[in-house]
């Protein structure tokens, strides 16, 4: 542990961290419940972020995402359930010192400059790594002398990333970090996150409505609704195995398979979105409509997610 502490003196990472051991920090939430008045913000939520895994978190506003972040960060205690740190023996302060949080809004004092905001966080953060921090500032093209109030939204987001990542965190919690960010800042930040993964092997939990970003960055995606995780799957499978089936002409009766996520009718056809699509499933469904046709349409990640969220809305 001592060799990893880098406050003050020049850190050991100056020669490049290529030989870093893989990070081993993760978190397992089980049975989390949290009530505000009559609202169940978390309702028996189970979610595990294994070390080194990037998990996307998708859900409508108010589904419980931000509450989950606050509970993992120890800012709020859940009414029931547990947050187990991985590895088991790590204590709260060590866990938090190795965790990075990037909120959707930069929160620093108005009088600060980019440079003084970084110094301020550096004093609070025991594992602050100056060399690493400097490289983030350079990669993201930030000007230390600028006042934070004079920064564009994109530059504020870049600064929020520097502040959240300067201690080389092994677990990153990102709450809508790219909301309203311009295209150039967006690409710069994606590159930094890719660097966090390849150089540090950091695990991530990213809540975002920007599904294309989740397709780029994550290994897995969890869908959250009504304070619980209703589905979790590999990101690649989500795109590759969610399909829309167009059944034409619209059949009088059609046995929906258990893989069904969402159903609509339109233009003389029945339109069924399914997960876990296979050729076998298609053959079985085709046998059910001998006088009709079933066409298969590939979906983008946005479509695959939106159809799930529409179905959740109906179930409400």
């Amino acid at each position: 542990m001592a060799s990893e502490t880098t406050s003050g003196a020049a850190p050991a990472s100056a020669s490049g961290p290529a030989s870093d051991p893989a990070s081993n920090l993760g978190v397992a939430c089980s049975g989390l419940r949290m009530r505000y008045g009559k609202t169940h913000a978390l309702d028996c939520l189970d979610l595990t972020i294994e070390p080194g895994v990037a998990m996307g978190l998708v859900g409508r506003n108010g589904a419980g995402k931000s509450t989950l972040f606050r509970v993992i960060l120890g800012m709020e205690l859940p009414d029931a359930g547990s947050v187990r740190r991985i590895p088991n023996q790590i204590d709260d302060s060590a866990f938090l010192a190795r965790t990075g949080f990037v909120p959707d809004q930069l929160s620093v004092y108005d009088w600060m400059t980019v440079g003084s905001a970084i110094e301020y966080v550096g004093k609070l953060q025991p594992r602050f790594d100056r060399t690493w921090s400097d490289s983030l500032v350079a990669d993201l093209g930030l000007d230390r002398s600028k006042k934070v109030t004079a920064l564009s939204r994109g530059m504020q987001a870049r600064l929020a990333f520097v502040l959240g990542l300067s201690h080389r965190p092994e677990l990153l919690l990102l709450d809508e970090p790219l909301l309203g960010v311009d295209a150039v800042s967006h690409d710069a930040i994606l590159a930094i996150l890719a660097r966090m993964r390849s150089e540090l092997g950091s695990a991530m939990l990213i809540a975002s409505h920007s599904l294309g970003d989740l397709a780029r960055l994550t290994d897995r995606i969890a869908f959250i609704e009504g304070g619980r995780v209703v589905e979790e799957c590999a990101t690649d499978d989500l795109v590759a195995h969610t399909k829309r089936l167009i059944v034409r002409p619209e059949p009088a009766s059609f046995a929906l398979p258990p893989e069904t996520i969402h159903v609509t009718k339109g233009d003389g056809a029945l339109i069924v979105t399914v997960r876990h699509f296979t050729r076998d499933l298609l053959e079985r469904l085709r046998a059910g409509v001998p006088n009709g046709s079933i066409d298969v349409i590939d979906l983008t990640i946005a479509e695959a997610c939106t159809d799930r969220m529409r179905a959740m809305e109906v179930r409400g």
């Binding site: 295209a183 150039v184 890719a194 066409d295 983008t300 990640i301 946005a302």
Partner: protein
């Protein structure tokens, strides 16, 4: 610099001259395989040369390094590249032709998808041809089409 008319922040350039589109139905892993294969077919990465490292490509493209690694493994499985200890992924000799053939297959598959999609939304063959011409024009207008003829 994002050229005007591009959706903000989605396509990202890479040193090998292909763009990723996270809003496409083609999975990102597949787009990277196709892009690298096209670079080999064009000769942008010649026999004996190295592909960029996983880390470099992941940062350039702004994607999950695991996805890049998975794409490399796929190219290795196809026999286009081999991993050389301590150096990286080396393009194997005589693979330009098979990269071309595999690239053609990939294009064929995507066209077949497009045809199925067209049928599903009830387009006539004639209308499809019109859209195909439009698509070519659309592709020609953006940066992606420019360097497609390197080395020919």
């Amino acid at each position: 610099m994002t050229p005007p008319g591009m959706p903000s922040g989605s396509p990202t350039g890479s040193p090998l001259g292909f763009v990723l589109n996270a809003e496409s139905p083609v999975p990102i892993f597949r787009q990277i395989v196709d892009g690298l294969r096209a670079s080999i077919a064009r000769g942008s990465v010649a026999t004996g040369q190295l592909l960029p490292s996983v880390r470099t490509l992941a940062e350039e493209l702004g994607v999950n390094p695991n996805t890049v690694q998975k794409a490399f493994s796929e190219l290795e499985r196809e026999g286009l590249v081999a991993s050389e200890r301590g150096r990286g992924m080396v393009v194997l000799g005589g693979m330009r032709q098979s990269a071309k053939a595999a690239g053609e297959d990939a294009v064929l598959n995507r066209l077949a998808d497009a045809v199925r999609h067209a049928r599903a939304v009830g387009l006539s063959d004639e209308r499809f041809e019109t859209l195909l011409r439009k698509a070519k024009k659309l592709a020609g207008d953006s940066a992606g089409g420019k360097d497609a003829r390197d080395g020919e």
